[in-house]
């Protein structure tokens, strides 16, 4: 049994080496398929990061009337915090708001001067509410609109931002759904192309398979080397596709950071390289082996 396994592996490697051009052609097709996958994974990460970044920018702010007591505001903060839709509620006091404002405009002499002349704090205290999910802002706004402490509000920003928030929600939804459809579609094509390439490679040895049967080889002994060859294709293709992607990612990473500030693509790529290699190999090897089994089966009927 062990000697058979050894021979099967030996013949798999031998066939891979001797088939030269055919091996190269098959390998490059699988590399292309895997590159599509890698591209999809990177695309996925980029859209996710971009979407998260956008989501983070959305919030609802409640500005309180200038005479609203701080205790009441803190009570409202507490009660809002208990809502399931709410992720966080930050309190910005009037003093704090002034500090931030001053800091922001410290280089602007006209503003600093007018603030000093004013001699009082014109800014309002506010609560910044972030929702767990962008689609929940509408619910939160609705809740605020019906609340009995509404009389203390000077203004709620949702009304002004509603259009933008809704549009962002739609864009996020389309990006997620579209990305998924694209991934499924391209993955399907990659699988099909790889499968057919391996099938063609094995088609070219259909006579050999018949001869092996006539010489008394068992089906597993015939199939084995082709499966081994498929596994070699899969593994090498995984390594090669990562080898090709690495310099590309390294090169475009700084440009990506310009668009998506929090994204360091190169760092992401290098820290996930083992996992990527694992999944790529798994995919390549699985596809190579399964395609070989299916393709050989057809010619084993002698």
């Amino acid at each position: 049994m062990l000697i058979n396994l050894f021979r099967i592996i030996k013949y798999g490697f031998l066939a891979f080496r001797r088939n030269g051009w055919l091996s190269t052609a098959t390998l490059s097709i699988i590399v292309l398929a895997l590159l599509v996958f890698e591209g999809l994974m990177i695309f996925n990460v980029l859209t996710k990061t971009a979407v998260n970044l956008l989501e983070d920018k959305i919030d609802i702010s409640i500005y309180f009337k200038i005479d609203a007591p701080e205790d009441d505001i803190l009570n409202i903060q507490k009660s809002l915090g208990t809502l399931t839709e709410v992720k966080s509620v930050d309190y910005v006091s009037r003093d704090r708001a002034l500090e931030v404002f001053k800091e922001k405009h410290k280089d602007d002499a006209a503003i600093s001067q007018s603030l000093e002349e004013l001699n009082a704090n014109p800014l309002l205290a506010s609560l910044n509410i972030k929702a767990n999910d962008p689609s929940e802002y509408a619910t939160i706004a609705d809740y605020l609109d019906k609340a009995d402490f509404k009389t203390m509000f000077e203004k709620v920003t949702y009304a002004q931002n509603a259009v933008v928030i809704n549009r962002l929600n739609k864009i996020i939804g389309v990006a997620e759904k579209g990305g998924f459809v694209l991934i499924v579609f391209l993955a399907f094509i990659a699988v099909l192309v790889t499968f057919n390439t391996i099938r063609l490679a094995i088609y070219s040895s259909r006579d050999e398979i018949g001869i092996m049967r006539l010489v008394g080889a068992s089906n597993s002994f015939i199939r084995g080397p082709y499966v081994v060859e498929g596994i070699i294709y899969g593994f090498l293709a995984a390594v090669l596709s990562i080898g090709i992607t690495a310099p590309i990612v390294y090169f475009i990473s700084p440009y990506i950071s310009v668009f998506i500030a929090d994204m360091n693509l190169w760092k992401y790529f290098t820290s996930n390289i083992i996992g990527t290699l694992f999944y790529q190999s798994l995919f390549g090897i699985g596809l190579g082996a399964v395609s070989s089994v299916i393709a050989v089966r057809k010619y084993l009927k002698v």
């Binding site: 000697i3 058979n4 021979r7 066939a15 001797r18 088939n19 040895s205 006579d207 050999e208 001869i211 092996m212 049967r213 006539l214 010489v215 008394g216 080889a217 068992s218 089906n219 002994f221 084993l300 009927k301 002698v302």
Partner: protein, 230 residues
């Protein structure tokens, strides 16, 4: 060794039926040298395909040794085929393997240890006169050399029987006689040989049992036969 009991093989397509072999009954004993003669398409190859289980009979029974051939399942066929060495007109060597590997393959499929391969393969290739071309691929060999590799492969497993289907059909007269001599030698050493051919000179020279096939029927079966066909 081989028994055919009222065997018929009928090919049918689009309602048209054609009998490749009709009601054939004969048996071949151990250590016999049997020539099966007839024109192309007479049914010689069908007889061979039925023995090695490449085809199943439409009617009747084919027995090889202890095997009831047409009752064997696909995964049992390799067992039978390791007991029969077949030599074809078109050689049927594995083009991506060297002469040595082609012969070794027959031992490998039988699960024989590496030491057997190292011992027997060069011997077999030496016997057919190809020791110095062991590492050549089939495309680097002449027709006669390819057929000799095929013979070495067929006999390496010490099969119960060697079947040669028009083994000299693609060879010049020189090589033809070389191949026939090797087959006779194998038979002298105790292996049953079945030779399917339409070469009259060969059959008459061998002067052994001859089964004549015509239009799918066995028309003559003589112990010391000649090639007689109208």
């Amino acid at each position: 060794m081989v028994i055919f009991q009222n065997v018929s093989k009928i090919y049918g397509s689009n309602g048209r039926q054609m009998a490749a072999l009709e009601d054939a009954t004969f048996s071949i004993n151990q250590k016999e040298f049997v020539s099966v003669v007839g024109k192309s398409g007479a049914g010689k190859s069908t007889i061979i395909k039925l023995i090695i289980g490449e085809e199943t009979p439409s009617k009747g029974r084919v027995i090889f040794g202890s095997y009831d051939v047409n009752k064997l399942k696909s995964h049992e066929l390799p067992q039978l085929r390791r007991r029969v060495g077949v030599i074809f007109q078109d050689f049927r060597l594995l083009s991506r393997k060297t002469a040595y590997e082609n012969v070794a393959f027959a031992l490998e499929v039988a699960g024989r240890p590496q030491s057997d391969i190292i011992d027997f393969v060069p011997q077999a290739l030496e016997m057919v006169g190809l020791k110095d071309k062991m590492l050549n691929f089939p495309k680097e060999l002449s027709g006669g050399e390819k057929q000799r590799v095929a013979i070495a492969r067929a006999m390496i497993n010490h099969p119960d029987m060697i079947i040669a289907d028009e083994p000299t059909g693609n060879l010049d007269p020189m090589n033809t006689w070389e191949i026939i001599k090797i087959l006779m030698k194998i038979n002298e050493l105790g292996t049953t040989v079945m030779l399917a051919t339409h070469n009259k000179d060969i059959v008459n020279h061998i002067n052994q049992r001859v089964i004549s096939v015509e239009n799918g029927k066995i028309v003559r079966d003589e112990a010391k036969g000649k090639y007689i066909l109208v």
